[in-house]
């Protein structure tokens, strides 16, 4: 079952599209599920399919096509680090190494307490602020260095996103 909040959010999104084009809201619907649950299970996809009125397979296709959907639990805070060329030239390998050491996890993994997950991202379209990461696909942090990363982590540890 989709929560009331998710249903409300989807309904608002549906207003953007012609009444006979409900499928257009599927990307947003999956995003809302991920925002609430941290990741999207196949059961969630089935619920989205029923709510929007489209084949479950078509929802699955969308969920697996776009990189930013988490198809497994990725922690309370998913940190996605861009490693593309501008970020590579600006030191993203050091960023990633620092995060891996600090969190004790590798890419695609989560910390034992479930607090943090680490992902590698593709170009985020903010290259002049390289190196950068996003937190839960919402907040972007740029011009990273070790001190800045430590600060971000300790703020998140304290519970303030």
């Amino acid at each position: 079952m989709l929560s009331d909040q998710i249903q409300t959010q989807i309904n608002r999104e549906l207003q953007k599209y012609p009444a006979d084009q409900r499928q257009s809201a599927v990307m947003a619907a999956l995003r809302f599920v991920q925002d609430e649950k941290g990741w999207i299970s196949t059961e969630d996809m089935a619920d989205v399919a029923v709510y929007i009125g489209m084949p479950q397979m078509a929802v699955y296709e969308v969920a697996t096509f776009y990189h930013m959907y988490n198809l497994k639990p990725m922690g309370e805070y998913t940190l996605t680090v861009c490693t593309n060329l501008s970020c590579q030239l600006s030191g993203c390998n050091e960023t990633l190494l620092h995060l891996k050491n600090k969190l004790g996890i590798g890419l695609g993994e989560i910390t034992p307490d479930g607090k943090f997950g680490l992902r590698e991202g593709e170009c985020m379209g903010a290259c002049v602020d390289a190196p950068l990461l996003t937190i839960n696909n919402k907040k972007m942090c740029g011009r990273l260095n070790s001190e800045k990363i430590d600060q971000i982590l300790s703020e998140l540890e304290g519970g303030q996103a």
Partner: protein
């Protein structure tokens, strides 16, 4: 207040509607509606401006608009491509978050010119904060009468909605983007039919880049010729450039077309740490890389860069200094296209994997002497043989890096380590 036409900063405060209006905002739209400018007159003005698509392909905007059917009985759409994911490119993000009403105004004028009643702005998934600014700006504009049924009280209807991407580079291709808005996998459509006859939901649709549409209000207010005169022949107007990589002051810069690269590099603070410039990708990661000596003689316009052997593309300038290993740089780009291929066309789906694995093994000391010719052979078999340009985009960097830095690749294969 910034003297730029398009590029502003947070300090300019133009995301606020009142500030935007105080700065002369929405006057171009008012002019169009109050003087009942004809669609032909607007399109003629845009043609005269020499404005060419700022997303990468450089197609003349006025010409594109003229492809829209006139006597079509039904809904037509205008779509803004803000899915800015070509590595190195981040100019549209600054328009979205710092100057959203400029985009809304530009889209309203464009919609009027092509007869579209509704528009969608497809925003790159990773820049959620820009999406939020656009959502708020559309809401404010709707309440203030700049969007909706009777725009500014005139007999003109246009509403605009933001659609967020969620991490697929290929959705920057216009028909993949349309598929994505329709709630599908972002796989490019076979053309023809082109979007002007069969676009979003099968309706006539025009897709323009964010910066392109944001250029429209100034052109309408000041005249196409004046815009064209800011640039050089065949590259009208001003253009935003994102300078990233090994520079002291990475950032977005608005400069007239035809400005020497040397000047742009100075604006970006020069090469970091006083290092020597080695190479530049002048137009986003898909465009062939150019060595420093060629780049330092190039002007930033379509023709000048093409003559030098690359393309202006999206205006994303990636600067690499003398410490850069070209094999490692290409390895990352090859991985990107491999990762982002939508899988629809065999040459791209399989070929990008081949390209990546070969460059990867060269970088990691397992390259073979015949690998370089194999790479070029693969490029020949990918470029031009796919539905969309992602195939070409994967091949061009490989060809560019090998054309200018083949020795570095040979050194890597022979010595199993970097030359730098």
């Amino acid at each position: 207040m910034s003297a730029n036409l398009i590029l502003t900063t947070a300090a300019d405060g133009l995301a606020d509607l009142d500030n935007y209006i105080k700065a002369g905002g929405y006057q171009a739209l008012r002019k169009v509606l109050s003087t009942k400018m004809s669609q032909d007159a607007i399109i003629a003005e845009v043609k005269a401006s020499g404005l060419r698509g700022r997303g990468g392909a450089g197609f003349p905007t006025g010409l594109k608009w003229s492809f829209m059917p006139r006597n079509y009985d039904g809904v037509k759409y205008l779509v803004c491509n803000s899915d800015e994911g070509e590595p190195g490119t981040c100019k549209d993000r600054d328009i979205l978050r710092y100057n959203p009403h400029l985009l809304i105004e530009g889209m309203a004028i464009a919609a009027y010119a092509i007869g579209a009643q509704a528009g969608y702005n497809y925003i790159h998934g990773e820049i959620f904060e820009a999406y939020e600014v656009m959502e708020a700006a559309c809401e404010t504009a709707r309440k203030a009468g700049y969007l909706g049924k009777n725009v500014l009280g005139f007999d003109f209807e246009f509403d605009l909605f933001n659609h967020m991407g969620y991490g697929a580079y290929v959705c920057g291709e216009e028909t993949a983007l349309l598929e994505s808005i329709e709630g599908k996998k972002g796989q490019p459509r076979f053309k023809p039919p082109f979007p002007a006859s069969y676009g979003l939901y099968g309706k006539p649709t025009t897709i323009n880049n964010t910066e392109t549409l944001a250029s429209i209000p100034w052109i309408i207010s000041n005249g196409g010729k004046k815009f064209a005169d800011l640039g050089v022949p065949n590259s009208g107007g001003i253009k935003l450039f994102s300078v990233s990589g090994h520079v002291n002051n990475p950032g977005n810069f608005e400069i007239p077309m035809g400005t020497p690269f040397k000047t742009l590099l100075e604006m970006a603070g020069g090469v970091r740490g006083g290092n020597k410039l080695k190479a530049v990708i002048p137009g986003g990661s898909s465009m062939p890389v150019l060595p420093a000596d060629i780049m330092m003689e190039v002007n930033m316009d379509f023709d000048s860069i093409q003559k030098a052997g690359s393309y202006l593309g999206s205006g994303a300038v990636i600067v690499m200094d003398e410490t850069t290993c070209m094999v490692k740089a290409l390895e990352r780009l090859a991985y990107f296209y491999f990762e982002e291929s939508c899988g629809q066309c065999t040459p791209c789906r399989e070929g990008t994997g081949w390209l990546y694995r070969i460059v990867h093994r060269i970088e990691h000391g397992d390259g073979k002497p015949e690998d370089l010719d194999l790479l070029l052979d693969l490029c020949e078999n990918i470029a031009g043989r796919t539905i969309c340009a992602l195939g070409d985009a994967a091949a061009w960097p490989v060809q560019g890096f090998l054309k200018h830095y083949r020795k570095e690749f040979e050194y890597h294969i022979e010595h199993k380590r970097c030359l730098v």
